[in-house]
């Protein structure tokens, strides 16, 4: 079935419908990863967004039940150059197309994804609509597209009740993990290191964590504009004012920056992919990282008395990490838990483990 992708700037791409037949309005972003589409689809940070995969051959290895990063896909729409009708891999349990249909994800294939990426790069992230109907009016569609805004996504993707994951082997630490849209592998990176992890819904009051007998707190990744989360930021501030070791990633990193007086701003088209070089300023070394963010901490707003910039992006110099003056508190913009992407910065989890010291609460 034919499908159309209408962009906020009026451009229309004609292609073929994949996944569920239907209409979707979302924010369009592009991702340059060459593998890991299933992890991307199920990364809650993409809630409200339509993802354009810049690699043209998607679905080659199908889908399986082990590579989900959360309970379901959160991407609103998937745009690819070519969807493989066959998945070939020893773990493959089905095709990507069937998977999209099962979870009611709409998509389109057969569009010039490089041309689309170039539009998003030069004109910035914009909204778009996928529709399978042929009787739409561009005028009406554009009104609807322009009116769309990614809102309330953290609440949508976060767990509704706490959930505890046992440590692999002996429990050495107890970690509270705030779920703003957490990826499964972030939990895995902790449990594999001997942490019992309790994942809390996003609106859990700080007191509950502070009184829960935890050795440390992790603030997860998540979707949307960080500044929208006014109430959550208040709770994060309380966590910051405690003496619990804190490690935060992506949205968590932005929320902590906002809670401590810094500002964030929207980037023209964000960082989404698995090849972003980040320099660890203290170590003097660069690491290739997995990234997925559209907002970033504004460096001039970081009070040197509160925190120093620990990591920067080698390509564009943006803030990639903060080390707080308060003991045992550091945050990064990129994704050390990878999945998908390079696992070169997993050592940050070790650093977090080290910051929890002896783990007396375990």
């Amino acid at each position: 079935m034919r499908a159309s992708l209408i962009l906020e700037n009026g451009a229309v791409f004609l292609g073929e419908s994949i996944g569920e037949v239907g209409k979707r309005v979302c924010e369009l972003v592009f991702n340059t990863s060459m593998t890991g589409y299933q992890e991307i689809l199920t990364d809650p940070s993409y809630a409200g967004q339509g993802v354009v995969m810049s690699y043209p051959l998607i679905g080659n290895y199908g889908v399986n039940s082990q590579d989900n990063e959360s309970s379901q896909p959160w991407v609103d729409a998937l745009i690819v150059r070519r969807l493989s009708s066959l998945g070939s891999n020893f773990r493959c349990e089905g095709t990507l197309d069937d998977y999209l249909k099962e979870y009611h994800i709409a998509g389109v294939q057969g569009v010039d994804t490089r041309a689309l990426t170039r539009i998003l790069r030069t004109q910035g992230t914009m909204n778009g609509m996928i529709t399978c109907g042929s009787d739409f009016s561009i005028q009406d569609a554009l009104e609807e597209i322009k009116a769309f805004r990614v809102e309330g996504t953290v609440e949508r993707v976060s767990r509704k009740a706490p959930e505890t994951f046992p440590a692999d082997g002996e429990t050495r630490f107890k970690v509270a993990l705030m779920d703003y849209g957490v990826k499964q592998n972030m939990i895995g990176c902790l449990t594999r290191r001997g942490c019992q992890v309790t994942v809390f819904p996003c609106h859990t009051p700080a007191e509950e964590l502070l009184q829960g007998g935890f050795d440390g707190v992790m603030l997860s990744n998540g979707p949307g504009d960080p500044a929208d989360n006014v109430a959550i930021i208040q709770e994060v501030k309380k966590l910051y004012e405690s003496d619990l070791p804190i490690f935060a990633v992506c949205l968590g990193h932005q929320l902590l920056a906002l809670a401590t007086g810094a500002k964030t701003h929207k980037m023209p088209f964000g960082h989404r992919g698995g090849n972003h070089p980040v320099k660890d300023l203290a170590a003097g070394r660069c690491f290739i990282t997995s990234q997925n963010h559209g907002y970033v901490v504004t460096p001039e707003t970081v009070d040197p008395a509160v925190a120093e910039i620990s990591h920067v992006n080698v390509n564009d110099g943006t803030v990639e990490g903060l080390r707080y003056k308060r003991p045992n508190c550091f945050t990064v913009q990129f994704h050390p838990e990878a999945a998908p992407g390079p696992m070169d910065t997993e050592y940050l989890f070790d650093r977090f483990i080290a910051s929890m010291g002896g783990g007396h609460n375990a």
Binding site: F30, T32, T35, S54, S88, D112, T113, I288, N315, P340
Partner: protein, 1068 residues
């Protein structure tokens, strides 16, 4: 860390002659590295024995030595130049081994030369089988169960424990030379014996056979700060078991989920970190298709063929970055030339699919075993880029120039289905086409996967192409089908053939439907950053990014490259193409290059103003022409590949610069050419043009045997043979007709005289001949396989005058503007013309270097209207230099089983070395050393066994050898002839005679040289064939032409190693 200020003068090692396993990729890498070093103000001393390379140009390095790559010669160069450092990782395995030898012999320490980049300890860890295994074990990286052995018995014992089949890999050899899979004890004994022999350190690795696993490669880089990045992942479509150089390879990996991908990427980064490599590194893995189990197969701690492919596939200049890292820079300090904004510290990401197909030499070596295994056999490769796998595949197939347009090989459709099924199990160069034929017969991808272990994903892509063929066969397609076919990479010509139309009609039809090619940029970053790389590939997609430049003041010239490297069309043509581009740029032209060979300098995106990485077919070229609308096109420099497109370009309305396509035709068309010779009053051997075997036999009897039989329109004497009787003709004609069609076949009287070759530049009025080259071997041995000497030794002045006159007259008569290459024979005091090629030749690079005449530059300027008289190099024959230059052919026989090493009219060499010195014997000695061919020492042993025709001539040579205290052994006939002439010779038994016979003697390693001249015919069961192959397999020098044997005597009797001195060609 910025550049180390202590590094001021760096010695760069090249990789030597082109051989199978080590080709143009190292010229590309070395040239890029030299430029990167000089950019940093470092003085560069370059050594390479291969004169056909761009890196040995006087303007690439500060000091250039075209000298043998051995310790003695390098020691002299180090003494003379006193470099402070040496960069060993860009000259392939040859460069790396040589640097290690220099280190181990203490030469580097003696002269205070620092090894840049990777340390000797690291190199040893990666290269020595046992140390590598230990290092991997320490890292927790799984290797295949294996053991290093130094004897056949130990190999047999170990294999008995781990079970057959086992793989044998000799240590320190190129392209796995001498390796193989042994299925039982007898085969293991044979392979292990050969491997131990060929290994530099007498070691082989015996390992568990994991044939059928996926073969995955990662190119990674590391700097002194420990930053590590991955450049490119690659997946071999042929599973483990086929050397990666002979595999069809796709980038990035296609069938790996993120987990496996990251697992192997992390492993590669861990390995390069543990080995502390500073620069590039290639890691090869085997991955079990049914689990996460994997094994590290091989690590190359240097720039490699795969890294050249990775550079072209991603746009990331690995060699350049490796050179900067060697100087001390870290990745984040090196700018990314592609984006101009970001740094070299990032991982390229692709938004297209890249496919490489090896170019195997079985079209030339029709009798060679086509089986593929761990011993590489390909001479070159093609690469194609598209936004679909199928599009890249179809383009790559077209680029091979094997008369194949799609996944269909002539002849396979005639086989029974059972035969196809059997053939599926054969791992050879035709397997891709056999798989396609099986799919056509209705085999399921799963069934084919069970036999071939090729991933079902690839098989279903092939199936898609075959289904499209079926759809197109139903008749002229509708717009939707046509668009899908074009996206899949079907050419208009093939679509037309399938649906019963013509190429022009299909083109008109799709244009009426607005289905047109669009060009996309290779930018390393999937469009995430703005890039200005002038590097494009075609797709059938919405947006075209290649914009013709608006600058109307510059003439826009299209230069066609020479495609994959094959026997007969080697790196020389890339040298010529690149120099032409540089000359055009100097003349203010905008240059556009089209080529499909990832190994070459010409496909480096900063050579021409624009690079289109496309097949060299009329349709693919036309797409570029329609977009760019060039002012003119240059086809003289790209070998036969480019020349063949002259007519098509003319039809597209693109003016051919220089000699017109009609002039090319006149030189190739027998009757037209005969007419021209007659007009010019030039004699040539009598000959005829024929099409059928009957006509050929009739012609041969008319002109009289022996005759030369060859197809027209070919390079490198492909299919050319000397026929002595009707039976020979019948056999040759059958072979010729199988590989070449459409064009007539030439039958000429064979004149056995002295062969002379010239390259000339003609401007319409005057000719300039930079040098006359004389061949050591008489006519009958292909010019590319002959030892060639400049200046000529035996040519009288009156003949030189004749040669000049003939060259001028022929150039004028053919309408040549630019280059002309002519081969002459001097026979009975008369000069005959054998062949005229109005194009570049393989001798141009070396003659340019030794005479100092920039031939390509002059030819290019002539093509744009300048006159030789205004260029400062004069006209007629350029004054002879005071140095002798001997060009010596290099063969790759040890890599190709069942190929007869006997020299004849068909070219067999893969590369060449140069010997340059003040006297002919010394220059010859240097060439011998470069070729690693040793004349027997005093007290050494030689076996002589020659055909009856040569028994007279061999006497003088044998006497000379005996005078040098060399012990002569000979088979019965030859021995009798020698004894009769009073030359001491001992009898050695024939192949069929009781042991120990001649083969045992060769195998024993007690012989230094075998002189064997082949009897007629192509049969492989002759004694001579067995003797020659046995010599190759036991690394014993074997010469097959009387004149080559005489050259060996010259070296033995008249030259002295102690007197050799290195010569800096920049100071000539």
């Amino acid at each position: 860390m910025p550049k180390d200020p202590k590094i001021k003068k760096v010695l760069v090692l090249g990789s030597g002659p082109i051989v199978i396993g080590q080709a143009a990729e190292f010229d590309y890498a070395g040239t890029q590295a030299c430029r990167a070093l000089r950019e940093e103000g470092v003085e560069v001393v370059l050594v390479n024995s291969n004169p056909a390379t761009i890196m040995t140009d006087a303007d690439i390095a500060d000091h250039v030595y075209i000298e043998p790559l051995n310790v003695a010669s390098l020691t002299q160069i180090i003494q003379k130049e006193r470099p402070d450092s040496i960069l060993p990782t860009l000259g392939g395995q040859t460069g790396l081994n040589l640097a290690m030898n220099l280190h181990e012999e203490g030469i580097l320490a003696d002269y205070g030369v620092r090894l840049l980049g990777t340390s000797p300890t690291s190199i040893k860890k990666a290269e020595d089988r046992q140390e590598f295994k230990d290092a991997m074990e320490a890292l927790g990286q799984p290797c295949v169960t294996s053991d290093v052995v130094e004897s056949v018995e130990a190999a047999v014992e170990f294999a008995g424990r781990i079970g057959y089949p086992v793989i044998v890999r000799p240590a320190y050899t190129l392209g796995g030379t001498g390796g193989g899979i042994a299925y039982d004890e007898p085969s293991l004994r044979e392979i292990a014996d050969r491997g131990i022999h060929l290994s530099r350190v007498g070691q082989v690795l015996i390992e568990r056979c994991i044939a059928g696993w996926k073969e995955i490669e990662f190119e990674v880089m590391r700097d002194s700060a420990g930053n590590v990045i991955q450049i490119c992942s690659m997946e071999n479509i042929d599973p483990v078991g086929v050397h990666t150089g002979d595999s069809i390879v796709v980038a990035p990996t296609q069938t790996l989920a993120n987990k496996e991908y990251q697992m192997l990427r992390s492993a590669a980064l861990d390995i390069i970190s543990a080995l502390e490599i500073e620069g590039g590194c290639n890691c090869q893995f085997a991955l079990n298709p049914d689990s996460f189990e994997y094994a590290v197969i091989e690590v190359n701690p240097r720039v490699s063929r795969s890294s050249a492919l990775a550079s072209k596939a991603t746009g990331y200049p690995i060699a350049k970055v490796a050179a900067k890292i060697a100087l001390g820079y870290t990745l984040d300090e090196i700018p990314n030339a592609v984006t101009g904004k970001t740094t070299a510290c990032f991982e390229p990401t692709l938004d297209y699919c890249v496919l490489k197909i090896p170019r195997l030499p079985f079209d030339k070596f029709t009798t060679a075993s086509r089986k593929l295994g761990t011993q590489m056999k390909a001479t070159g490769e093609v690469m194609a880029i598209s936004n679909s796998f199928q599009g890249a595949l179809m383009k790559a197939i077209r680029s091979l120039e094997l008369n194949v347009k799609t996944l269909r090989l002539e002849g396979l459709e005639d086989l029974y289905t059972e035969e196809i099924e059997e053939k599926l199990a054969d791992v050879d160069d035709q397997r891709l086409f056999v798989v396609a034929e099986a799919l056509r017969r209705g085999f399921s991808p799963e069934k084919i996967n069970a036999i071939t272990k090729m991933d079902v994903w690839f098989l279903t892509r092939f199936q898609g192409i075959i289904q499209m063929e079926a759809e197109l066969s139903k008749g002229v397609p509708d717009a939707e089908t046509l668009r899908r076919a074009k996206e899949m990479g079907f050419s208009d010509a093939y679509i037309a053939a399938l649906c019963g139309s013509t190429r022009a009609e299909i083109k008109a039809l799709r244009e009426s439907m607005d289905i047109r090619p669009s060009f996309k940029m290779v930018d390393t970053c999937a469009a995430e950053f703005e890039a200005a790389t002038p590097y494009y590939y075609s797709t059938y997609d919405r947006e075209n990014e290649a914009e013709p430049s608006a600058d109307e003041s510059r003439r826009k010239v299209l230069v066609l490259g020479s495609g994959p490297i094959r026997i007969g069309q080697g790196i020389e043509f890339d040298y010529c193409s690149v120099h032409s581009v540089w000359a055009l740029k100097k003349l203010g032209c905008e240059t556009i290059i089209i080529n499909n060979n990832p190994e070459t300098v010409s496909t480096d995106f900063d050579v021409a103003d624009k690079l289109y990485f496309e097949p060299l077919t009329a349709e693919d070229v036309e797409a570029v022409v329609e977009l760019e609308k060039p002012w003119g096109a240059v086809v003289q420099f790209g070998g036969q590949t480019a020349i063949k497109l002259a007519k098509a370009l003319t039809e597209m309305g693109v003016p051919i610069l220089g000699t017109s396509s009609d002039g090319v035709d006149a030189a190739e068309d027998r009757e037209r050419f005969d007419e021209i010779l007659q007009q010019c009053g030039i004699p040539r051997a009598e000959g005829r043009t024929v099409f059928t075997t009957e006509e050929a036999i009739k012609a041969a009897n008319e002109v009289g045997y022996p005759v030369l039989v060859r197809p027209s329109y070919v390079l490198g004497g492909q299919g050319m043979e000397i026929a002595y009787n009707d039976r020979n003709i019948t056999e040759f004609m059958r072979i010729i007709n199988r590989t070449v069609q459409e064009h007539p076949i030439l039958v000429d009287k064979y004149l056995m005289g002295r062969e002379v070759e010239v390259d000339g530049v003609f401007d319409g009025e005057d000719v300039l001949i930079p040098g006359i080259m004389e061949h050591v071997e008489r006519a009958g041995v292909h010019s590319g396989d002959s030892i060639s000497v400049y200046p000529s030794l035996h040519i009288e002045d009156k003949h030189k005058e004749t040669i000049l006159r003939y060259t001028r007259d022929l150039a004028r008569a053919l309408g040549v503007i630019g280059l002309i290459n002519i081969q002459f024979i001097i026979y009975s005091d008369q000069v005959y013309v054998i062949e005229v090629n109005p194009r570049s030749s393989r001798t141009i690079p070396y003659i340019s270097k030794v005479t100092g005449v920039p031939i390509i530059d002059l030819a290019t300027r002539v093509m744009l209207g300048e006159k030789l008289r205004d260029m400062g190099y004069g006209v007629d024959i350029y004054p002879e230099q005071k140095y002798y230059a001997v060009k010596m052919p290099i063969f790759s026989f040890e890599k190709l089983t069942d190929v007869d090493t006997g020299l004849g009219p068909e070219m067999k060499s893969t590369g060449e070395v140069l010997g340059l010195d003040e006297s002919f014997p010394q220059a010859l000695l240097k060439a011998f050393k470069g070729a690693n061919l040793r004349a027997p020492k005093k007290g050494g042993r030689v076996i002589i066994t020659v055909r009856d025709e040569d028994k007279g001539e061999i006497l003088g040579i044998a006497r000379g050898l005996a005078d040098q205290d060399i012990e002569i052994f000979a088979t019965a006939g030859t021995c009798a002839a020698l004894s009769e002439a009073g030359i001491p010779a001992k009898l050695v038994g024939r192949v069929s005679e009781a042991h120990p016979n001649i083969l045992d003697m060769i195998a024993s390693g007690s012989v230094d040289l075998v002189i064997n001249t082949p009897t007629k015919g192509r049969k492989h069961d002759t004694d001579g064939f067995k003797i020659r192959r046995s010599a190759v397999e036991h690394s014993v020098a074997c010469v097959t032409a009387i004149d080559t044997a005489r050259a060996i005597l010259t070296v033995r009797a008249q030259s002295r190693s102690a007197d050799l001195r290195p010569i800096d060609i920049t100071a000539l």
